[in-house]
């Protein structure tokens, strides 16, 4: 898991709202550093790192929400939605890893249940990954990042 990027430019003596405008864009940029990898479904580590960065952004938005109007909550909901879809992708990756390892450690045994779950989970993983990609592209086309940065700056 990638470490969070160091936040710079804080002024502890300045207002909570002013510092929200300093911190939040940095958390948004951290999420977008992973964007270059997401069109490759095999980049499991990077997809996982993007999920973690999205989670960090979500938590940061939640405690800064008091600085913004109600519309800000809609952006948090979208972030949660992305986190959930990527969470499903990651959960499936972990399940596949566990099933494959379990099977490898029992080389001689027939494991029909494991085989069934590997097939089922692979299918679910692909569907979840496609759902994530579609959602991401949809948000990109709608200018989500710029809109988020605009509300953060308000």
């Amino acid at each position: 898991m990638a470490k969070p990027q160091k936040i710079t430019g804080l002024n502890p003596k300045h207002s909570f709202h002013e510092n929200a405008r300093t911190i939040l864009p940095q958390k948004v940029e951290e999420v977008y550093t992973w964007e270059q990898f997401i069109r490759d479904p095999e980049r499991r580590e990077e997809l996982h790192n993007m999920r973690i960065s999205i989670k960090r952004l979500r938590y940061t938005m939640e405690f800064f929400a008091i600085n913004y109007d109600k519309h800000f909550t809609d952006f948090i909901e979208t972030i949660i939605d992305l986190q959930d879809i990527l969470g499903d992708v990651h959960d499936n990756d972990v399940v596949l890893e566990v099933l494959t390892e379990y099977k490898e450690n029992r080389q001689s045994a027939e494991l029909p249940g494991v085989d069934t779950l590997i097939a089922r989970t692979s299918e679910a993983r692909n569907a979840d990954y496609q759902a994530f990609l579609e959602r991401w592209e949809q948000l990109s086309a709608a200018g989500f990042k710029q809109k988020l940065l605009t509300i953060i700056a308000s």
Binding site: P4, I7, R56, Y59, V94, L117
Partner: protein, 157 residues
Amino acid sequence: MSTAIEVKGIAPDKTLETCAKLIIVSYFREMMSHKEGAIDGTDIKFVHDMRVASRRLRAAMDNFADCFKKEPFKKHYKQVRTITRTMGAVRDLDVLIERFRNELQTLSEVEQGDIQGLIEHLQQEREEARKPMVNLFTELDASDFGTQFLTFFEAKA
């Protein structure tokens, strides 16, 4: 715990250092409120809730690090990170066990046999993963971590 707790006393025009302290202290108390349930281990939601709370706390500490003296802050941050990681090992196994149990109902009798074996294997791993978690809590209590943490962050404002 899917939503953040409400932090009393924070406001847009208050200084960051005042709000940072209030947020960190609130999130810390929230995290520790799940400790006894996590130690008990009967209901998996306590480990989940404590881990999520520890992640929220870390997110706040990551963002507000510059509001606090470097060395004591670093020590407390490392302890919270250890809590997250130690609980993560248990939580990951809880998630897997729950998922495979749900899958069991959808499989034929023959297929169920080896998934049941996998579940038992994961349950053993979970028992092993719980030991460092429970030991960590014992060590944190012995070192008075909670009091030291709160004294440091409450004294800052």
